[in-house]
């Protein structure tokens, strides 16, 4: 962290996982001592300069949380689907909540339980490339 002074470094939380590995969860924000940039650094050492987010959009640097690293959250890039008539196609009156999309003549639905607030599906509808999340 040469060239920086610590602005905020919330206490790292050590979490014992079920497989006996140790996971560090914490939030680190730094200001560069040379030009006062505000930088988020994730647990893999990747820096994100959020100065513009703070000064232009009014983000509060201390409200950013997490930072375990995006390598923990690979998105779906090869989505597969079941179609009407397939054995695993949901029953017509299944009460689950979904996100439904009709785009370029194609209709698709995604169970909210599968997206879970964090999952991203990088999708293609015809020639439209979209990201599905919730």
């Amino acid at each position: 962290m040469r060239g920086r002074i610590l602005l905020v470094c919330c206490a790292l939380t050590v979490v014992a996982c079920s497989d006996n590995t140790i996971e560090f969860l914490g939030d680190s924000q730094f200001v560069d001592e040379n030009d006062n940039r505000i930088v988020l650094t994730d647990m893999n050492g990747i820096d994100y300069d959020i100065t513009h987010a703070v000064t232009h959009y009014g983000f509060a640097a201390q409200k950013f949380r997490g930072g375990a690293g995006w390598q923990r959250f690979w998105p779906f890039v090869g989505p597969r689907f079941s179609e009407p008539g397939d054995g695993d196609y949901p029953a017509p009156f299944d009460p689950m909540e979904v996100i439904g999309v009709e785009l370029n003549g194609e209709c698709r639905a995604y169970a909210l339980a599968d997206l879970d607030g964090i999952e991203i599906v990088d999708e293609v509808f015809g020639d439209a490339h979209v990201a599905v999340g919730w």
Binding site: D42, Y48, F76, G78, F81, D122, A128
Partner: protein
């Protein structure tokens, strides 16, 4: 749900692992820009595409029964059978 096309490029969007106000901040793997939902779409708050917007795509949040009633030919996403992004030399 958002477009991930900009300036003729196709972005791979994913969770950055950061949240802001309990909402996940997204990142694109191509430029490591950060994106956050602010109407009318995903706004780039940091990085190469700073201040650019990926527009939101119209969609419905509803029950499966209601959705399928109006769209009986719908394909249903199968998370267990779907492939995730795999890093490689070409996709670090």
């Amino acid at each position: 749900m958002y477009s991930r096309q900009i300036d003729g490029n196709i972005l791979t969007l994913a969770s950055s692992s950061f949240t802001y106000d309990k909402i996940f901040v997204l990142v694109d793997y191509e430029t490591q820009s950060l994106w956050y939902h602010m109407a009318p779409g995903l706004v780039c708050i940091s990085g190469h595409y700073q201040d650019r917007i990926l527009p939101e795509i119209p969609h419905e949040q509803t029950t499966w029964a209601q959705w399928r009633d109006g769209h009986p030919e719908t394909w249903f996403f199968d998370a267990r059978a779907s492939a995730r992004y795999e890093p490689s030399v070409d996709n670090p």
